[in-house]
Symmetry: C2
Subunit: 165 residues, 2 copies
């Protein structure tokens, strides 16, 4: 019994140490947010608001996608090769991909395609009220979660549910 | 010497047999052509002409992309899941991907992303004169050949060179 009590105490101490370790060193979740840049910046203000909410769940690696000063010229790097390689490195190092897919974007499609192949957890947010036709390659893809929404508040509920899973 | 002559004759017969075998059973090259559907059908007539030319190099699996009756509703299958799975199977079974990337398309971007991960040989055709801004994720991708062109005749030269390599 004495030995068992000591062992139990030891386990309790280990558990407390584990919790302290997790609080101090816990790896922050890395989130890759994808939204249209050169495809059109109509939704840039919305991206910014979604990114602000995503930041409550982890680190958003692509915060510049919501930058109101970033135009559809997409000059967020010295060369296209630089932008591609930087963004791809972020995508590969991320834990999840959250994409706003209402504005048609070749780059967002490319990022989703690569993330699917890498087995990333993917959430796509689409506004059917926009009148846009979402690609069947996204709408019919079984390797991602597609959520239709209307308002920013709706998207927050969807995002919150996504991170609970 | 006698043995060498017989051996040489034997080799010649084998070579002739190989050529005959190749002529009869040669695997036709499978080409996946990607172009915008739900992103917009402005370039549909051009897709049709490119597909016609591609057919001189092999079998084009996605001939429907050039169909003038296919609208931006993209109803080329009973469900989005059906379209996705069918197109993905074609993409995976293809030898090369040729994509016209001037019209912005989420699906084309997705297909390029998946093809890059699968190590496919990829040619992207872009018309800078269109005034469109090509995504940096395509323009800066080192795993594909990007060719700028203006006319259908230009695209034919590029395609011909691509298949020679």
């Amino acid at each position: 019994m004495k030995y068992a009590t000591i062992k139990k105490m030891g386990n309790t101490k280990q558990n407390v140490a584990s919790v302290i370790f997790l609080i101090i060193f816990k790896k922050k979740m890395k989130i890759y947010f994808a939204g249209s840049i050169r495809g059109g910046r109509e939704d840039a203000a919305l991206y910014l608001q979604i990114i602000e909410y995503l930041k409550t769940f982890g680190e958003v690696l692509t915060e510049h996608v919501g930058d109101p000063n970033l135009t559809s010229l997409g000059d967020d790097g010295p060369t296209d090769k630089y932008i591609h390689d930087r963004d791809l490195q972020w995508l590969q190092s991320s834990d999840v991909l959250v994409a706003e897919v209402t504005s048609v974007s070749m780059g967002v499609g490319y990022e989703i395609g690569r993330a699917v192949e890498s087995g990333k957890k993917i959430l796509c947010l689409f506004r059917p009220g926009s009148g846009k036709n979402l690609s069947a390659m996204i709408a019919g893809c079984p390797s991602l979660i597609l959520a239709n929404y209307q308002t920013l508040e709706d998207s927050k509920i969807v995002i919150s549910e996504f991170f609970k899973k």
